[in-house]
Symmetry: C2
Subunit: 450 residues, 2 copies
């Protein structure tokens, strides 16, 4: 009984897939934060090397993966696809469940798929230093790893509450040679402003982004790197779905349903966009389901509107599903899913009705993750538990309906760095939060008028 | 430039390799703890299922790997072999460095190679519950994982100092459904005796083994599982070296030097014994180097003598390199290398002069591990850092001597669960310990007279 589907190295995709080539309507323009006029490449140059800016706006279907990037990818790619025989049996479902496993990377998640690419293009452009932000630490870890391999200094602004609560993540970044600072910090004007108002501020992703961007724009040798949301990030993650398409064919199967979890949108897009594009070009259509935490319900309860990516409103305005750039979700452990906005490409696909979105509470997701671990043997990251929960619910629906559908989900990372969250779950310390209509309206009232 | 050598699933070994078939002298007998007479299978029956007892005493060269074990192995095996091109370049060495990477298992180390096999044979024999001990937690994690897959209750006695300091490891075991108790505990007669003498006792592996063994002998449905030291454990780990031999051939290369770290001896034997046997049968001989911590210098400073495996002296007596079953190494973080004894098979091979042994301090090893992480991208477990240090020193010797030897080492696990140790290293909190002659003589004075 085959459970693992592994591609040969020479089957690893040679190009990333860009869904902008297949969208029936083009993306809304990105606007300048002050003028509200469409931005051009020059506006983005202080932040990114030109190769990434070109990818950001490209509508070419295929973008070649440079050989030095493929060379590093081969450390863990092609990543395995598994058939979850034991999980199916435990659920008593007639459904076939497959999962793509991205936890095999040295950083333990899908994030290196773009970290490596961004580090490479920056090295090529002569960048000496990259600044970035991180919440739980998956992205900071991945960029630190990439920086070590491509000889770049990495400065990570870690949200202070995570910096204090998760010293082990910081230790990983430092092992890779990166510099990790708690945000808000006294290293930036914006950080100092926030601290002046509240010296005990625990930070947020939006603030950390503002700090990282501020440092980057001041120094021509320094650029900025973002781990999700942007078009080029989602482009790099398409390798997940491109591999999965080949692996589903190896398994003589094709997904009726595809499930991914969404924070900024990159792992979801990674697994879903290649299949979505396949359908847009006339191929078989899979039903696609995005799963988000009910404590940060961007897709299910947010507004599709122009908004800033950061708290200081320094980033360009993008049209996306957002809860408002001032939104701070309550404390919950899927740190990678706490962003106030959704990737513009994912938001656009949502507006085109190309996928469904559901939300679950964190306790529902941990329950699913523990069940998965006991049957499949892999402890998922708290973020990935959302996808696990979504896939299990689809499998139970199939059981109820007596349908043997094929379900594919993205297990975007392992939970080895996140066991404190499991400890909190087991000890009953986790609580769930559902927003009232009033709270949502309040959060959305601060959106910029564009 | 190929860096990863990956076997197809159908190249995964179908049998484990038993070095007892090739030793020029047979192993000394195992003795009964009270009578000091050679033990028979019946003496071991309260502890292990007969299939494992047969493997313990077998001198057959090949032992077939049952298909249900192979089926689980395929979740992560065959494990990759890497050529460390970036590390070589950073060291400026003409040596070629290869490493076998066992951190790809769901538990993050080589331990599941035997945990899965032990769980399978116990399930077949009708065992309902397994007891075991764990220090740092790698073994407890692996047996918990195996227990989940084969439907066995797992009771883990975790050394209290680790239980208190490493709650995340416990969380992994509990996620897999295992029960984890701090040792000394009030669940066993021996534990209660230790606690009566010292209620604040922080525990030791020897005490935890005594507790696990005591519970197992009391209940016919309960057996005991050990994660290293025993012959059948080392047998199961031979899959590491068997795969590596094929992979070295894929790389058109063969190791002049093989390096592994030693605690109980299982990962070292796993990589080394298949090559050692190859040489004993007349094949090319590789120089083999065991690396141990200078704070627990079993091979380099211990005595080859009959000793107990546990503190309560309940286990049979085996002839091995030992520091005395009462030995407690000072606090250092390579928890998997803290055992007072060495696997009898490894000890026997040492007496036959089949390999060299060296020791390093923990700070030397962390320095090497950080260097490795920054160039190869993988953060090693503190135990594995000893092998990394040994391999780097061999590569630097090659540089000095102008020799382009081929070095193979076993990277037996990743350090994701052990980042607290890296934090301690970076903050300068780690200290090194070298024993005086007097301290060593004192430790060895308590050996049983057999």
């Amino acid at each position: 009984m085959q459970t693992k589907f592994l591609l040969d190295e020479d089957q690893m995709p040679k190009a990333w897939y860009n869904i902008q080539a297949d969208f029936p309507r083009p993306m809304p323009p990105v606007l300048h934060p002050q003028t509200h006029q469409p931005v051009g490449p020059a506006d983005l140059e202080p932040l990114f090397p030109m190769a990434l800016i070109e990818q950001e706006v490209s509508t070419e279907r295929e973008v070649e993966i440079p050989e030095p990037v493929r060379d590093v990818y081969r450390q863990w790619r092609p990543a395995p696809l598994y058939r979850a025989h034991r999980l199916e049996k435990a659920l008593g479902t007639p459904a076939k469940i497959f999962y793509k496993y991205e936890g095999v990377s040295p950083a333990g998640s899908h994030k290196p798929n773009t970290a490596i690419a961004q580090a490479f293009y920056n090295q090529q452009a002569g960048t000496k230093r990259l600044t970035t932000e991180t919440g739980a630490g998956q992205w900071g870890t991945s960029l630190s790893y990439a920086g070590a391999l491509f000889g770049l200094d990495i400065n990570v602004f870690q949200v202070r509450v995570s910096y204090d609560q998760k010293p082990y993540r910081r230790a990983v970044m430092e092992t890779y040679g990166a510099h990790c600072l708690p945000s808000p910090s006294d290293q930036t004007e914006f950080g100092r402003k926030v601290l002046a108002e509240n010296p005990e501020h625990t930070g947020s992703l939006g603030i950390a982004i503002s700090e990282a961007v501020e440092l980057a724009v001041q120094d021509p040798d320094t650029k900025y790197a973002l781990g999700s949301v942007l078009n080029h990030v989602l482009l790099h993650q398409s390798i997940i779905g491109l591999e999965a398409m080949q692996q589903m064919e190896m398994a003589d199967s094709w997904p009726d349903v595809i499930v991914g979890c969404t924070g900024g949108g990159s792992n979801f897009a990674g697994i879903a966009f290649p299949f979505m594009g396949h359908a847009l070009r006339g191929g078989e259509r899979s039903r696609i389901v995005a799963v988000e935490p009910s404590a940060c319900p961007t897709l299910t309860r947010g507004k599709y509107a122009y908004d800033y990516g950061d708290t200081a409103q320094m980033t360009p305005l993008t049209k996306m599903h957002t809860l408002g750039s001032g939104f701070t979700p309550p404390g919950f452990h899927a740190g990678g899913l706490r962003y106030h906005g959704m990737a513009p490409l994912v938001s656009h696909a949502r507006e085109l009705d190309l996928f469904d979105a559901v939300s679950y509470t964190q306790r529902q997701c941990f329950e699913a993750g523990v069940f998965f671990a006991r049957h499949e043997g892999i402890v998922p990251a708290p973020e990935a538990n959302h996808a696990v929960k979504g896939a299990i619910d689809e499998a139970l629906r199939c059981k109820e309906e007596g349908k043997s559908e094929t379900i594919l989900f993205n297990l975007c990372g392992h939970g080895h760095f996140d066991m404190a969250a499991y400890t909190a779950y087991f000890s009953g310390e986790l609580s769930d939060h559902e927003y009232s209509e009033e709270e949502m309206a309040m959060a959305l009232s601060g959106l910029p008028s564009v």
